[in-house]
């Protein structure tokens, strides 16, 4: 089991982090999320092109980098921390599915960034459904691919403006896979990918409130010196440590240990999804009144955390899954 990052993974993290800090700082995130597209096509193009991130886990033979889920987790932690708007996670969900299913026609387009895709586990809530050129429809028993122009799509009014959603009605489309084991693995790997993004949200939210607690004064003292604040932050740190440990474990299982993956994936969503909302909530509350304003960034983390928590269905679904896997 591998729970610490290799030097290569640390380098990847540094590269993505510095790219996003320059190309998509929070001020840019706010502009992009309120723009007509809801994201920056330029940033997305550079992410695919310069950094090759949409093809990160796509096999090399289809134009990708053939990297593992541990690397993908590193990247998603950064896009999560940056609250990157747009279809990067949605396309990643599709890349996971197509790579697992060995679908070779569509993968090159995803890898080179020319094809924005999404994955519809619930056609009523399709992440970036309006932005996608390809929709993968997971009906439970089978996965089908539908070109977006063949589907009827209706934008929804999302809580989290950094990740828009659409309601989709689509024709049957072309079969990608109906192998139950493949479908199960796809969903588990998506759960791990989402947990990695949530880990990034936890880290960024905690960093933001820790930084504020060091400069904000109340009653003549920095607020971070009060145990009422300090002890909450310490508890949030404990959640971050545990969340990171679980994400590393689940990503490792995704790459190296298929037998552990189902439990690891359910654990990742059950723990990290909840921890993410709790940390984002407490980070907002500890900001005091300023955290309630639209102009402050706290609500962006808070809303992303809540939207992520329910992205793969009601959170109890992951707990039920765990109960089954533990043979309870």
């Amino acid at each position: 089991m591998k729970l610490v990052l290799s030097q290569e993974q640390q380098d990847l993290r540094a590269a993505v982090r510095s790219f996003l800090a320059a190309a998509s700082p929070l001020a840019q995130v706010r502009r992009d999320m309120e723009s007509p597209d809801g994201y920056s096509r330029e940033v997305y193009a550079r992410l695919s092109g310069e950094l090759g991130l949409t093809g990160l886990i796509v096999p090399e033979e289809y134009g990708g980098a053939g990297a593992g889920h541990a690397e993908l987790a590193v990247v998603l932690e950064e896009t999560g921390a940056a609250l990157l708007p747009g279809p990067f996670l949605a396309t990643t969900f599709a890349a996971i599915a197509l790579s697992r299913a060995g679908e070779k026609e569509l993968l090159p387009g995803i890898a080179d960034g020319s094809l924005v895709a999404t994955y519809a586990a619930d056609p009523g809530h399709v992440p970036n459904g309006m932005e996608a050129g390809l929709i993968l429809l997971d009906s439970g028993d089978e996965l089908r691919a539908v070109p977006a122009e063949e589907a009827a799509r209706e934008p929804l009014e999302p809580l989290d403006l950094t990740r828009r959603q659409a309601r989709v009605t689509a024709p049957p489309g072309r079969l990608v896979t109906d192998d139950p084991a493949t479908l199960a693995a796809i969903r588990d790997l998506q759960a791990v990918a989402l947990a990695a993004e949530q880990l990034g949200v936890i880290r960024a939210a905690l960093e933001a409130i820790v930084a504020y607690a060091k400069v904000r004064v109340a009653f003549g003292r920095y607020i971070g010196s009060y145990q009422g604040v300090k002890h909450k932050l310490a508890d949030m740190h404990g959640k971050l440590e545990q969340a990171e440990s679980i994400v590393r474990y689940a990503a490792w299982a995704g790459d190296e240990s298929p037998a552990d993956l189902p439990e690891a994936a359910a654990l990742a969503q059950a723990y990290v999804g909840r921890a993410c909302f709790e940390v984002a909530r407490d980070h907002l509350l500890l900001h005091g009144g300023i955290g309630f304003t639209w102009e402050h960034d706290a609500h962006l983390y808070y809303k992303r955390a809540k939207a992520d928590e329910v992205l793969l269905g009601p959170p109890r679904r992951h707990r039920t899954r765990l109960a089954e896997l533990l043979e309870l």
Partner: protein, 378 residues
Amino acid sequence: MNLDEYRREARAWLAENAREDDPKAFMARLHDAGYSGITWPEQWGGQGLTQAEERAFAAEARHHNLPTYVFSIGLGMCGPTILDRGSDEQRARFLRPLLRGEHVWCQLFSEPGAGSDVASLQTKAERDGDGWVVNGQKVWTSVAQHADWGLLLARTDVDVPKHKGLTMFAVDMHHPGVTVKPLKDMTGHARFNEIFFDDVNIPDADRIGEVNDGWGVAVTTLLHERLSISAGVGMSGQRDNPVSFEALRDRLDTADPYVRDQLVELHIRSRALSLFNQRLSQETRAGVFPGARGSAAKLLLAELTMFQADLATSLAGPDAVTDDGLSQAIALAPALALGGGTNEIMRNIVGDRVLGLPPEPRVDKTVPFKDLKVGTQS
């Protein structure tokens, strides 16, 4: 008339009259019927009854959507402050118009650099002949865009410790130096405003309480604020709340034992707090003033509100973040934990004043304001 009769009469009156939707006209009729200023002295336009009647009326009013929101700050905070700390001349001038809906009031305490620590505020009022001239900025002011008057706390002396250099005023919100700018909050709506004061003149007759005794006056206001929040005296409606127990029972799959148990938890917490509030109300009627225990009720309400919206959205799943009602509920949920004193401030108050615990050592009570660290500093 006993409380049950009072309540029945109120119910009947509301059934008959709650449809009026012009706020000012409604307040006038409410006052004529004897339901505005229920606990206020008759001399100043009130009814001279107790908080028990007020709470009974509020409980009935919650079944309706009364158009009284713009008056809630005036009725819940500004009015009681003037009642407690104003001069008779001010009481005569301000209270009856407030009760009859002729004046909308807002409260002007918080500043960007002074949140929980209200007394570290920087807006200053300087002597100017017989009156005062005010410059500075306030924030978190609800209903300011409609307000005729504001209850303003300003710094009048920077050479004394922060609590000792503040003075309270009534400020005419129609003065040309007052600028009201809507403040968009995290729900995407502008429930609050920022207020800018640019050489705003206030006659000395509109000073509430003594010069440099503004903190003492403000404490009165804040106490009323917490009580009015915890008691739900604000009469806005609870109907159609998308995260209520009933709404969730209807919306969710209660065949799922997990969902059922979570709804039981919500019921338990809601009942616990509701019975606590009812007990506070009965105690008040029996002559026991709740005092700082109201802060415990406010804290519990803030926590319940957060818990409830979080629970509802978690149970509802993906719908929760695209359904307008649930989305608004989760976006609005932090408001009560941030407004009217944060949860941490409430815990301090309960610890210090209810349990009598030793105070935190304080540096900011002795240092002259001009030498004190305030706001955000690196």
